[in-house]
């Protein structure tokens, strides 16, 4: 766990920065007063908007990062990520269908999103398996992008054609944003995320073996098929919970695991917790930028993560294909 203490310290600093920044900038003293005293100035903002928002950003960011790390191990491709593999698109489609048909309360939207994410990942996997050949990571990535684009097209069609008032500005929500954060939203996310997160952390050793190749992993006594199912199900559920609460936020799971692997090494037992920590901080800071850069207006946070993530993706792509 080398450099672990420092990482935790920096993470705490990021959370604090996220709590101080915003439409209403706060001093640490004002923040503390707002937390302990409900009648303090800005207490309402701090207790019911700022804190749940920063915690939600941290949890969603961390989950997306861990999803990216697990998917990268599974398909042995550094470019794998919930957004690029089409999971986020599928989850968004599921959520839009549920909202459009007025089927779902905010507690049930993640289930529809989960169904969408699972369908997308199954389709991506099927498309990328060419008869009699090994899974080609590049084909997998293409399949992910194509399925994601198709899901986006279907969502746009539903949004344009539907008369449902609720869907009118859904495209903004689909750009990703934490503006609907509340303690309730945080509760909904945790409810769906706690089990898949635990399962993923417990799969650290299987992921280490998977990186060596499926055959090697099998010979070393790993149940490859079971690991694969676990990873698909957990990443789909985590992505779905994230999309249902904050819309589609891309590239978090791409940028962070790479940096973490370079600093803490590739072993998932250490790499996964640090990925969670750093991804969480990444989204907290990205959201702080989204909240403050055009104050009092706000940017969708998905725009900020894409502005950072796409150049990183381009760099990685060059290196992978070189």
């Amino acid at each position: 766990m080398k450099r672990g203490g420092l990482a935790v310290l920096i993470a705490a600093g990021c959370l604090l920065a996220g709590m101080l920044a915003g439409a209403v900038p706060l001093t640490p003293v004002a923040l503390w007063r707002g937390v302990v005293d409900p009648s303090a100035p800005s207490a309402e903002i701090i207790r019911n908007l700022r804190l749940p928002r920063v915690f939600l950003a941290f949890l969603v960011g961390g989950s997306l990062g861990v999803c990216g790390a697990a998917l990268q191990a599974l398909v042995r491709n550094p470019l794998a990520e919930p957004y690029l593999l089409g999971l986020s698109g599928g989850a968004g489609l599921g959520a839009v269908v549920a909202i459009g048909l007025k089927l779902a309360s905010s507690w049930a939207v993640p289930i529809a999103a989960f169904a969408g994410a699972l369908a997308a990942v199954a389709l991506v996997y099927r498309l990328s398996q060419v008869e009699g050949r090994r899974l080609d990571p590049r084909v997998l990535l293409l399949a992910g992008v194509v399925v994601g684009a198709f899901a986006t097209a279907l969502m746009s069609a539903i949004i344009v054609l539907s008369d449902a008032v609720q869907l009118r500005n859904v495209f903004l929500w689909l750009l990703g944003g934490l503006s609907r954060s509340s303690w309730e939203a945080l509760g909904i996310f945790l409810f769906y995320a706690i089990i898949p997160l635990t399962l993923l952390f417990l799969s650290a050793r299987s992921l280490d073996l998977l990186v060596l190749g499926e055959e090697t992993a099998h010979h070393l006594g790993s149940n490859v098929e079971r690991t694969r199912v676990i990873i698909y199900l957990t990443t789909a559920l985590l992505t779905a919970a994230g999309v249902a609460t904050c819309g589609i936020i891309g590239f978090v799971g791409l940028v962070v695991p790479h940096a973490v692997r370079r600093i803490w090494g590739p072993l998932h037992r250490t790499m996964l917790p640090f990925t969670f920590l750093v991804s969480g901080c990444f989204l907290v800071l990205a959201d702080a930028v989204a909240r403050t850069i055009v104050r009092p207006a706000e940017l969708p946070v998905g725009i900020v993560t894409a502005l950072i993530g796409v150049p990183v993706f381009a760099l990685l792509l060059r290196r992978t294909l070189a």
Binding site: A23, L49, W173, G177, S179, S182, R295, P296, A297, L299
Partner: protein, 287 residues
């Protein structure tokens, strides 16, 4: 002799040419459009111009309108050609118009060019603010031969706007004009709704946003602490039950001003009435 006849004919032609250019309108895109005769078959691709054409004539010149033109009630009997932004040109041409009026926007500029290429005079207007109503009414009066009606409509409109009186002694109500709830979006200074609130004696708390509408942070709403929320949605707003919105005191106290009339969704000749309605609603909320 033949030479003289030729010259006379030429002169006649020139004079006809001059006559056909008599009706010249420069639209808001800066394009000069000439009319040979007053327009008799108009497709109006802006709900506000549909209202204006009914107000200055009886709407008899209208042969097409957008899907969203819901006022006056007689507009329903005018054929619907679909959307006003990125219009369906085939549906528009099928009405055989001699004038198309469309909203001035980036995506409509190409459509206007295409229509002119097909020989249909097309005018683009920005109808975003109250001040646009008299200007557009005068231009439409001119091209449809209803200049006198347009002038009187304009005069009445301006007089009624200036007649709105608000109690000057009390502090103005601070209003959040909601355009969407998730993500939260508000109307800024660039919208006629903001003007209407100001004219009715209120203050738009997002006056500093120059855009007509923008995504805003709920924290900023809490900090600016509006006295009431002006909501113009079709159904009951979900705002009252959203946890993040309930951090705003005016939301918890249910200080909502619902406006459902389409007079609040576009600048139109009805704006003075809409402002008077706001004056009355603000009065109810004042302590």
């Amino acid at each position: 002799m033949r030479y003289w006849i030729g010259l006379v004919l030429l002169a006649a032609c020139t004079r006809t040419g001059a006559n056909s250019g008599n009706l010249v309108v420069v639209d808001d895109a800066g394009d000069t459009v000439r009319f040979a005769h007053p327009a008799r078959r108009v497709v109006s691709l802006i709900p506000a111009t549909t209202e204006i054409l009914f107000a200055i004539g009886d709407g008899a010149v209208l042969v097409g309108r957008t899907h969203w033109c819901d006022y006056p009630a007689q507009a329903a009997s005018v054929p619907d050609v679909g959307d006003g932004i990125s219009p369906n040109l085939e549906a528009v041409m099928a009405r055989k118009p001699d004038l198309v009026v469309m909203y001035r926007s980036g995506s409509n500029a190409a459509a206007a060019e295409q229509l002119r290429g097909l020989g249909v005079p097309t005018l683009q207007f920005s109808v975003d603010r109250l001040v646009d109503v008299p200007r557009v009414a005068r231009a439409l009066g001119k091209v449809t031969g209803r200049q006198a009606s347009a002038d009187s409509l304009t005069a009445v409109f301006i007089r009624r706007l200036n007649q709105v009186s608000v109690p000057r002694d009390s502090t103005p109500l601070r209003i959040l004009i909601v355009s969407w709830d998730q993500p939260p979006m508000a109307i800024g200074a660039g919208s006629f709704l903001s003007e209407m609130v100001t004219r009715a004696g209120g203050v738009n708390i997002f006056q500093d946003l120059s855009a007509p509408s923008a995504q805003i942070s709920i924290e900023a709403v809490v900090e600016r602490n509006p006295d009431a929320l002006l909501v113009s949605v079709d159904g009951p707003p979900a705002i009252a039950s959203r946890p993040e919105w309930r951090t705003v005191p005016a939301v918890r106290e249910q200080h909502f001003i619902h406006v459902t009339s389409s007079a609040f969704s576009r600048p139109s000749p009805r704006a003075p009435d809409a402002i008077l309605e706001l004056v009355a609603r603000f009065k109810e909320l004042r302590p």
